[in-house]
Symmetry: C2
Subunit: 346 residues, 2 copies
């Protein structure tokens, strides 16, 4: 008999509420013969205030034993900006070598978009997750004086770029349109930009069926709002990926439905799945949060572990549920969970 | 009698056509007693291919003598990516210390936006122009091998941040809503981010009437497409400014109408005014380019030199012309110029 040994990190704010629904749908959809074991971990603001810890080596040892991780949200205004982001979220991505940060964008039928004319949006961003300007490499001299200088160093390696670029090509190859765009800023960030561009071109020789294009990140934001239907798969660096995936989420139904996977493709470490949204402390505990992004993250988790048909069932359920919501009064987090459970089991 | 001694750089592609119209409007609107002198300079792809030069020290000496610079566009596919951008555009911004890169976004009546519901958009981005990841500070080791490493260093100084932040506060103070947002990514780029945030807070004490907020760049892209009316003045770093001003242009009528000023507020060096769009080689020489962005850049130029009422007249003319175009067949570059000349003189 098979098993799924899941680490669950509800985290801060609405994290608790949305993860609870994500787990309900997961249990409901899993095949009978797959034994689900979950272990809940306490990370985020509470733990930080109580112990000063964000994520310890011992925590990583424990998390490592799981097949995958489901995260709600981490972050609270009571903690200084950067502490939990860098001490927990980024530390986990780096420690578990989550170099493929997968962020699909699909405008589902009936879902509102800020764009006019309800365009067809169905693309995936493959964001590099372990390099670029995210490595914490930088410093400040003469802080607090008029002569202060602060640096941030973007680190880019052939090793790190090649593996994520190859992953993106493989994803493009597996999709009907087989299109891949590299997004960077190689006319200004020439060193990193040329490394990305050269590797993108070289790896492309292994994927002759994939049509490629290069686009500057500034131009990409224009295309995302004027012609989003042109995109199929996008591969990009850590920071550009951060920026364009929030924009991508905004145009394809909002962060209420944006899912993501922090993936270690080799399986050496567990991959982590989380909604793109944050902890939304302003609405926490009120049953107002939309659990759809977490539920869709559960679908990505299942697909990653090889449960393709269950992943598809969840995605169809969310899609149908969103279509049904149009013009209806807002439902609670739990009511949406009820509806989704009914759909995936029905 | 007064004079305006202008350097004109038509540049590549559609640059020639749009600058020609910009100059017509400028001549038409200038007060009788202001003597306009223009000198045309040949920069861009032609000169690069002929001489290998992009912008020499001698060129800078000559340009320095003018009151201001009007640029069409620089860039051509025949020149490797980065050569003209860094060798001309960025070199000029750095040499003339254009630290205030001013990019207004206003959705004019009748102008198409990709956003649903025709939102009210009227904000200005003050983008830092001489620091950040744009300094060309970086390098590559072991290029072309699997062990290549490329770096890009973002340089941020208290001096450089404070002057642009103060400029932005003053602009916010002078506007009816008096709102200023700092856009950065201080939860990840903590060194640069904290320097920006600290200085933003400190300078704010001099402007008690200005309401401030901080926003991460990823969140800013969401707000720009979901609630653009919330923005009044935005101040941000060189790279984030590059990205969000293209998005801002896209939502407020497209790069056909987006103007910009590369400003040296002290007047030590001439400021440069240019449309945000590029050289668009695909439509060059066909009379299809919309000169409105260049004409609006002329308005920014006039305002910078103290000709406020002439600047306003140009902006009203462009606004009226755009409103009139709705549903009309496309006009040529020259026809649009004719209409604008008629309006500013009429
Ligand atoms: C919270 C922050 C560190 C994070 C990032 O910048 O990667 C977030 O914005 C995201 O996109 O997952
Ligand atoms: C052409 C390029 C160097 C430039 C920039 O990145 O600043 C352009 O995108 C701009 O916004 O003016």
């Amino acid at each position: 008999s098979r098993s799924l040994n899941l680490a669950v990190i509800p985290g801060d704010g609405i994290g608790q509420e949305v993860v609870a629904q994500g787990l309900r749908i997961l249990s409901a959809v899993l095949p009978q013969d797959v034994k689900l074991e979950t272990k809940e971990y306490d990370f985020g603001a509470r733990r930080y205030h109580a112990t000063g810890e964000t994520l310890t080596d011992a925590d990583l040892e424990q998390l490592k034993r799981h097949d995958a991780i489901l995260l709600g949200a981490i972050g609270d205004p009571s903690v200084p900006s950067g502490v939990l982001e860098r001490g927990f979220l980024l530390r986990l991505r780096f420690a578990f070598d989550h170099h493929v940060n997968l962020r699909p964008s699909k405008l589902l039928p009936g879902v509102e978009t800020p764009l006019a004319g309800q365009p067809e949006i169905d693309f995936v961003v493959v964001r590099e997750g372990t390099e670029g300007p995210y490595t914490g490499n930088g410093g400040t001299i003469r802080p607090g004086t008029p002569h202060a200088v602060a640096t941030e160093v973007s680190l880019n390696t052939a090793f790190g770029i090649e593996r994520v670029v190859r992953d993106a090509y493989a994803r493009a190859q597996a999709r009907p349109r087989k299109k891949l765009a590299l997004v960077h800023k190689n006319n200004v960030l020439v060193h990193a930009g040329h490394l990305w561009t050269d590797i993108f071109t070289k790896v492309g020789e292994e994927f002759p069926e994939v049509t490629t294009e290069y686009m500057h990140v500034d131009a990409a934001t224009i295309h995302l709002v004027t012609r989003p239907e042109r995109f199929d798969v996008i591969v990009t660096d850590n920071l550009f990926g951060d920026i364009i995936t929030d924009l991508a989420a905004a145009i394809s139904g909002g962060i209420g439905v944006a899912a993501s996977g922090n993936i270690n493709p080799s399986g050496e470490f567990p991959s982590m799945f989380e909604p793109v949204h944050g902890s939304a402390p302003d609405i926490a505990g009120q049953g107002k949060a939309d659990p759809s992004a977490t539920v869709l993250s559960v679908a990505l988790l299942l697909r990653h572990l090889g449960h393709e048909s269950e992943a598809a069932r969840i995605e169809e359920a969310v899609s149908a549920d969103l279509a049904e919501r149009v013009g209806e009064p807002a439902r609670t987090t739990e009511e949406i969970g009820d509806a989704l459970v009914a759909r995936v089991t029905g």
